[in-house]
């Protein structure tokens, strides 16, 4: 005789009734045909009020009812079972019981209609736990966002003959902030420095790394380093402090007296320049690898120079502006040139804002920043 054999036969029914989960049998339309005591008690209803009178989906919160009709029932009919579906059961007093639901569809044996067997678990604590997790994720995203915003705050420098504009759009919706940044500062009486960069990763860590690289570039620029050597010094900073490896950066300086542009790009998308009266073009020179890409230190960082003519424009940006889910990157760059060309005669602030507006919501998975500068010829000043 095995353990349990001495329990009275009625105990199977007792097991169903007293089990710490809800048991139901429903017709295909959801009408309740059998229900155990646990579930009836959870609902706060007598069994008589349920049997033949209610459908299972009638006991769900409104969203769950739609979900039942559009997902739960079709899945059950197609694959014969559904598992671990989260639904809210509405009790007689209007309060809601978070539940996890499993259902199976029985085989239609001759003379016996197919029915749905359903098991309902009280998932109150689990749901609270999930909500805690979601809340803390949200909190962390919010902190990262605020950190990034505070790091990017600050006025753009002003100088006679110079116009600067920056536009920044954080990733849309639930996506964590990335580590994009822009910066502009006076180098000396006649030169202005521009930096746009993008660190690898997302969230608080990326925002903090961005803050470090941004401060480091600013500090290094103030020592008089030109764009190429500045990137090399930034490599050293990254290596020494172990932050920001493989970040991409574009560094530029403009001489407001001569209109000379010097720049260097570490793995960063090419700047756009409109030189003189010509159509905007991509500056493919002055390029090298992302920061600290070579563990033993890379070759010297090249830089390039161009003359920005009257009303010359230079535009630095991060990859979110040209990368789309559905297109190739070169198509994105072509589109950028066309868009810059179309906005070229507008004030520079509506140029940068206009470029962000060309982005679709579908490309909202990444941060984007755009920094543009135009200079007026000295004679006009």
């Amino acid at each position: 005789m095995s353990p349990g054999d001495d329990l009275p036969a009625a105990s199977a029914a007792e097991l169903l009734d007293e089990a710490p989960c809800g048991f139901l049998t429903t017709a295909l339309d959801g009408t309740i045909l059998q229900v155990n005591r646990t579930f009836a008690e959870w609902c706060g209803l007598d069994r008589d009020e349920l049997l033949g009178k209610r459908r299972f989906q009638d006991l769900l919160a409104s969203g769950g009812r739609i979900y039942y009709e559009t997902h739960f029932a079709p899945l059950l009919l197609m694959q014969g079972e559904v598992r671990e579906i989260a639904l809210e059961v509405v009790r007689a007093d209007g309060s809601e019981l978070p539940a996890l639901v499993n259902s199976v569809l029985t085989d239609g044996r001759p003379g016996r209609p197919r029915v749905i067997r359903t098991m309902v678990f009280d998932a109150s604590d689990r749901r609270r736990y999930e909500q805690e997790l979601l809340r803390s994720q949200k909190r962390e995203r919010e902190i990262a966002r605020r950190l990034q915003q505070s790091l990017l705050a600050g006025e753009l420098p002003a100088a006679p003959g110079l116009e600067l504009a920056a536009s920044y759009r954080p990733a849309i919706g639930e996506t964590e902030v990335g580590g994009d940044w822009y910066d502009a500062f006076r180098l000396d009486e006649r030169r202005i420095g521009l930096v746009v960069g993008d660190v690898v990763g997302r969230g608080i860590e990326a925002a903090a790394t961005m803050g470090q690289l941004r401060s480091a570039s600013r500090a290094l620029a103030s020592t008089g380093l030109r764009p190429g050597p500045l990137l090399e010094a930034l490599d050293g900073y990254v290596r020494q402090h172990g932050v920001g490896r493989m970040a991409t950066v574009a560094v530029a300086e403009i001489d407001l007296e001569t209109g000379e542009l010097r720049f260097a790009c570490a793995g960063h998308p090419p700047p756009v320049a409109a030189i003189g009266e010509s159509a905007p073009s991509l500056l493919w020179d002055g390029r090298s690898a992302p920061l600290d890409a070579y563990s033993s230190g890379g070759p010297p960082r090249p830089e390039a120079g161009h003359e920005l003519g009257p009303q010359g424009l230079v535009l630095l940006y991060t990859d979110g502006l040209v990368e789309r889910r559905t297109d190739r990157i070169d198509e994105g760059l072509e589109r950028l040139l066309a868009n810059v060309g179309a906005h070229l005669h507008e004030p520079i602030s509506s140029l940068t804002a206009g470029l962000l507006r060309t982005l679709d919501e579908r490309d909202g998975h990444d941060d984007v920043c755009v920094l543009a500068a135009t200079i007026s010829p000295p004679t006009r000043r």
Partner: protein, 265 residues
């Protein structure tokens, strides 16, 4: 990317027959039609597809701008028709796809011979005297339900579920493997579906239509379905014994019978 792979278009039946195009509703994919379409394969050219974001469609093609209104989905239907050069089309649309068919037929009436609208509703949210059956908070509550149910979808799984038709063993491993959608897209589709108002589009349709109404349909309640029939210029209205919102699954025989009777009649 071609329209046919974008929408995972699958064809069955008589190549030279009249085309019958089945469009699934919110919440699932073309599997919804698995018990219905075989009835038509002897005589018709059966065309099935998934809306972008559902089933075996290409998720890369999802464009929040294009699909922010049902017109984007209707444009997909028209593109499929053009790509396959379908004419004289019988369009069978379930749930929200009924309105997608209405929009497609209003735009290019010359393509469509008949519309079959199963459980249609031109607006789900109540509006004055109009009964859609839902309130704004109901729809928010649905979005919450969807957020807590990823139906076995996970970012690791996503690449695997694209087009695994030829590997049935894989499908068996996945719980809730039909109706699997990217949660973000499903959420958008839910919002577009339940906040659309196509009441004024019904009068633009000249295509003869069959409206199939289920008994006790919680998604498309009686007044909403009647409204669709009343506003269409040429419509037949049939009430099925089938209960619920998915007669194509719960009562495929009755559903196919009703469609067949209408098309033969």
């Amino acid at each position: 990317m071609s329209t046919l792979s974008r929408n995972n278009v699958v064809e069955h039946g008589a190549r030279d027959g009249q085309p019958i195009l089945f469009a699934h509703g919110f919440g699932c994919d073309q599997n919804m039609w698995r018990y219905v379409w075989p009835r038509f394969e002897d005589e018709y050219r059966v065309v099935l597809f998934d809306h972008v974001g559902a089933g075996g469609s290409e998720l890369r093609a999802y464009d929040a701008g294009r699909y922010s209104a049902l017109e984007g989905y209707a444009e997909d239907v028209l593109e499929i028709c053009r790509e396959l050069d379908l004419r004289d089309v019988v369009f069978v649309g379930h749930s929200v796809s009924a309105m997608i068919g209405v929009l497609a037929a209003a735009t290019e009436p010359e393509r469509f011979a008949e519309l079959v609208l199963i459980g249609p509703s031109a607006r789900y949210i109540d509006d004055g005297d109009y009964v859609g059956g839902f309130s704004g908070p109901d729809i928010e509550s649905l979005l919450d339900s969807m957020d807590s149910n990823y139906l076995g979808w996970s970012s690791q799984m996503a690449p695997v579920i694209m087009g695994n038709e030829d590997r049935p063993a894989l499908a068996e491993e996945l719980t809730n493997s039909f109706c699997r959608t990217d949660p973000e897209i499903a959420r958008q589709f839910a919002r577009v579906t339940f906040t659309s108002d196509n009441r004024s589009d019904l009068a633009r349709v000249r295509t003869p239509s069959l409206v199939l109404q289920c008994s006790e349909d919680a998604i498309a309640p009686d007044p909403a379905v009647r409204f669709v029939s009343d506003q269409l210029s040429e419509s037949s209205h049939v009430v099925l014994a089938a209960v619920g919102h998915c007669p194509n699954l719960s009562a495929p025989e009755e559903t196919a019978d009703a469609i067949e009777r209408y098309l033969k009649g």
